[in-house]
Assembly symmetry: C3
Homo-oligomer: 506 residues x 3
């Protein structure tokens, strides 16, 4: 009897310790909160739910290394024993920030960047800088071909006298479309004075704001945005580990990872049981904490066994487990060596990792040995729940899908090239956009939508998506349609020629 009562007592005392003790907040952060609690109650409440508001770096460093979320060995002394409040991110690095401004007696900046986070999370910032995502804005914006594709999608078309004119997109349209995920360039473009609840105040005006894209170019010169995945102001590892975070940018038909996952056995297990899993602990224990992988499990997280043997190491350079880049440009190809793909030039002088008619721009891409290495890294994880043969044969199918989808893209491209050569459409040689005519747009869908979707479906075993939903059915149909479009255009052209020849003029 007494033991039970004692146990209850301990429970009460324990809970009062863990929840009752006030975390130590810096004076600066206290100042922030004193106003902002009423101005932006949602932000403050959100931060209060975060680990940042509860744990000091010094405490975080007391955990054994395998369990740590903090990756520096030491933080500056003045930060060690206070929790991570507003000021610790929005003030300390302000001297590096072009967007910093005088505000209520402090120099603060709005845009938090990988460098700000690196004070405690240096390793992750370093890895992420080698992740292609950090170059997502630059790789898109500084590539003439991709840029032309953007223009053809986001621009405003007009119609007059049987002609279509394409007006280039404005910045707001781009920021609302491609650059929303890829990131914008955020710069201070002026200052403005506003009446606020605390009187008149001056604020910098930011271009490309708001934005949380993965390759955002920041006012402190860094690239990337941690809040893309570690959503402010909880910065929760739980959230980053759930598939909805990746889905923000990986759901559309060009990169349908989320949709494929959700129709896969893995996604089914997650949907059925995921609400009971542990998303908070580091390392993440396979079998105990979760029964099936989420996106993060395979691509980022530190996974270990119950005996704390490491299955796979954490990495924020996500492609180091990925052997192929399966959203082809225009074919699936070995992963680029450098995250900066603007340096790539193929044999025909185009800024593409593959030739238009197949073949890889090899010198810019990882070789087969590196592919093998990355594949093996990923397989370690698969083997936690699958037999050797299961894993090998899964990869065999996946590699086969890469091959066949590339063949299908080649076929579509050959039809298009034929159309260009026979005057049924205008392409590169005619110095025309390769994205503006109907047959060209159809061709884009062949590789960007259908071949990609088929490959994602194969890579992540979500076959239902790759069959009828948005994969093989449309891929094979599209080729036939492109072919009949070409036939029709050529027949139309020939008839016009015959009629003109016979009639003198039409």
């Amino acid at each position: 009897m007494r033991k039970i009562l004692f146990a209850i007592l301990i429970l009460f005392i324990f809970s009062s310790i863990s929840f009752g003790a006030k975390p130590k907040l810096s004076r600066e952060s206290e100042d922030c909160i004193s106003c902002h609690t009423s101005i932006h109650p949602g932000i403050v409440a959100d931060w209060q739910k975060s680990l940042h508001s509860k744990v000091t770096p010094a405490l975080a460093l007391k955990k054994d290394e395998l369990s740590r979320k903090i990756s520096v060995k030491k933080v500056p002394d003045e930060l060690a024993n206070i929790v991570v409040g507003c000021a610790e991110c929005h003030i300390i690095n302000s001297f590096k920030h072009k967007d910093s401004f005088e505000h209520a007696g402090y120099k603060v900046h709005t845009v938090i960047t990988p460098d700000d986070c690196a004070v405690c999370h240096q390793e992750e910032a370093d890895q992420y800088s080698k992740n292609m995502m950090s170059y997502a804005y630059m790789n898109l914006n500084n590539n003439l071909i991709y840029h032309n594709l953007i223009d053809s999608i986001n621009g405003v078309y007009s119609f007059e006298d049987m002609k279509i004119a394409h007006n280039p997109p404005d910045d707001n349209s781009n920021a609302d479309s491609c650059y929303f995920c890829h990131g914008t360039k955020v710069e201070v473009i002026g200052m403005e004075t506003r009446e606020t609840s605390e009187g008149e105040m001056e604020f910098p005006i930011l271009s490309g704001w708001p934005n949380q894209g993965v390759g955002r170019v920041n006012p402190d010169g860094t690239i990337g945005s941690c809040t893309s995945c570690h959503t402010r102001h909880q910065f929760s590892i739980e959230m980053a580990r759930k598939p909805y975070t990746c889905a923000e940018c990986h759901k559309g038909p060009d990169v349908p990872a989320y949709k494929v996952y959700m129709v896969s056995k893995h996604g089914n297990i997650y949907s059925s049981f995921g609400s009971k899993w542990n998303y908070k602990d580091v390392p993440w224990i396979v079998g105990k904490d979760f029964s099936a992988p989420t996106c993060a499990t395979c691509h980022i997280s530190l996974v270990a066994t119950e005996e704390r043997d490491i299955v796979i190491k954490r990495s924020h350079q996500m492609n180091d487990r990925i052997s192929w880049r399966i959203f082809g440009l225009i074919y699936a190809h070995p992963h680029p060596k450098s995250p900066n793909t603007t340096i790539i030039v193929n044999k025909n002088g185009l800024p593409l990792p593959t030739e238009l008619t197949g073949g890889f721009a090899k010198e810019y891409l990882i070789d087969e040995r590196e592919q093998e290495k990355r594949r093996n890294e990923m397989k370690k994880l698969c083997l936690s729940c699958h037999s050797y043969q299961w894993v090998e044969k899964h990869y065999e199918r996946f590699e086969n899908t890469i091959k066949t989808t590339n063949q299908m893209t080649l076929t579509a491209t050959k039809i298009l090239v034929d159309a260009w050569q026979k005057g049924a459409a205008k392409g590169l040689e005619q110095n025309d956009s390769i994205f503006n005519e109907a047959i060209e747009k159809k061709w884009v869908e062949q590789w960007l939508f259908y071949a990609n979707s088929t490959r994602f479906s194969s890579a992540m075993a979500g076959a239902d998506y790759g069959a009828f939903a948005f994969g093989r059915w449309y891929m094979s149909k599209g080729i036939q349609e492109m072919f009949e479009m070409l036939q029709l255009k050529l027949n139309e052209k020939k008839q016009n020629e015959i009629i003109m020849k016979r009639g003198g003029k039409r």
Copy 2:
């Protein structure tokens, strides 16, 4: 020690009070339940989970005004101290109901209407009657152009002798399609006698039944259906606050609010953390009860701070926070003044809020000042979690998207008008449906699917949906395709003319 035991004791006593005390049920409702528990166990069990089965109006009125769900100041004395059972909805207003009938000694009615609910929820019923949704059936059914669109979608086509004939849809098809969400007209069309477990009984036969559409025309002369969102028989505020309720009718490509939400940062936060939120309390406390808005938060709910300062008032006239109507007919336009849009006639005499070639039927639409007012109302909520500049620039982008998507719709419309004028298709001037030819159907998709989707994606910051999934990509592609369709038709026509001229006959 004693204190702890005392606390446990209090807990036990408290729980036995709140869960143990039997709610007082009317004799009439007891009668209903005595049979229906075995006939429809699911209905009774569902109701037992509802607040209606547990709280009397008198108790509900004891709550402070801000926390109340009941909105009348007083209910009829005979209802005050009994819970809301079967009879309280299905009997008390029966004298107003044309669908009421003798049943087991009572006059009961099947179809519960806003007037029935207004006995306790008058304010919500009043607001909803000013909400365009309440006119969803009438606005669709009584507008010749919309009606023609419905016919072209739900009708049965036949093919004979190289001609397509369109047969108008039957009522069942319409009820299963457009009117499922918009609402049907429910009328008593006869009586039938049926053998039941309680012997022979007589029941009214209802047209348009079952239906829970938002603009249902009810047998008591009212319009609307509270159960569209407050699903019978739990009538749970929790359910109405979750996005799945809105998704029942706002998921398709014409109004993809749910899909956009789910791919937005808000949707991600909801999906990741929403299972831990409090959906039951009134007012709904930002930051404490929830960390990101659901549909209801922005469009309906009473939101307050922890200090119980009102952030935004509850409204069942949902458009009073909405400045633009973004699912265009055929362009996005300022919100109509009246929920009854059948009164609208544009300059060309068409029952549309915009001209076919751009421009608004201004006198029927709210002016810029009212737009500004509604925009500001919504911004109050945004500012709970976002900075002033964030919110302003978000709206700037959104307004820009309205402008550019309207331009894109104009371009598509110009192509179609050209087709009509040049005889490549038949339109209004030829006294033909504007929805029956392939190029016209393509045109419908331009504004109804792609421009709408792009605008939803912009309004709710779900860019992934508005880029490749179902927005700008298809919008720009569609214009090019319409243009090439027109070119082809004109060339075909010209060739035929030349051939006929030259040959005398084909």
Copy 3:
């Protein structure tokens, strides 16, 4: 006071009993686990969460008959008092398995089949063998027309000299596409020796592996795969009862059951409240355990009332509650009598349950009386929560939708037949595939995507999906497009003929 403390004590004791007692594991299974815990920690951890690891058959048989998950009356004595571990499935039936092999002193097999599960779940295995799903591989693979459709989807197309060549798909592509869900043929095609952590070992090489498709042909001669729905190694009834399991194969546009469910009122209730439901108990109590049906509720589960009156019996022959087969081939039709549909030959000698131009291959399909019987079986469940009239009128609409969608398919087919007859396309009479030309692929979408989607939407009251998302809009648009394609082809042909006739040659 004492009573409370006593209750707490009882609780403690009880929980130590139920969680603390070690289940008895066979020596063979202990052997398996001793190595595989470290080799495949995820598998073992998953199994440990299963009921199999906790309950012996003898204990399972002690439950009252209505609550049992085990369906045999008696298991072999040697299995009765041990839990179901590795060996109990992977060893005991090995003598029947062509894939069995010597492994660490045991004869084991990898592929678990319905016969293995039947040791305890005989009734379910028997029912499933009458379920069309068990024939999913054979019905697809052994039907010339379906096979030709597969080839046209999964094959690799090439383009040379203005000709498209179709190369038949390889086995990996098929296994990654159609056969992923339908099942593959798993056979031992050789042996391989591998270096493992336990030294060199020999393993059988399996064709068509991995696969968990519903109609898998197994190395022991059986067909089907229980793990399609009862995912290894938890084999959880909870998971099978949740809609994500069915979604693995029923989400695409050909059978969009999941998408329709999720947009229906039922799906909304599930999404809003489902996390609070009880998915574990047998029988499943309507109203108490759940408030709205999932897929399993309507199609498989044993449902009862709180008084334990059976509402509907469990069945793994899922079509015994289904009167129509609504994913038409090519029309919706009464359900086939035999799960083996390869025996069906229509009047025109085609292996199809309907004629190309409407009409049923009646002798192979259930008659109206059987349809009525199955419909009534399903209605029992509907009536748990819906009134008689609600249910009747729902079915009236559904039957009407079957009629109108079949009419729409007939219209599309007539256009295609006209195209074949007039030489605008090549079909059966020209001894050509009916799936390779653009107009034929459009025709396939008419019945396989749009008519099916409309019917699913009608059957399960998810109207939003059947209107604009993927139903009536596309169905009516597609007919018009097919018609204009035909017009264009015929005009093109006629012009070519005239030009050729006049000019002697083109």
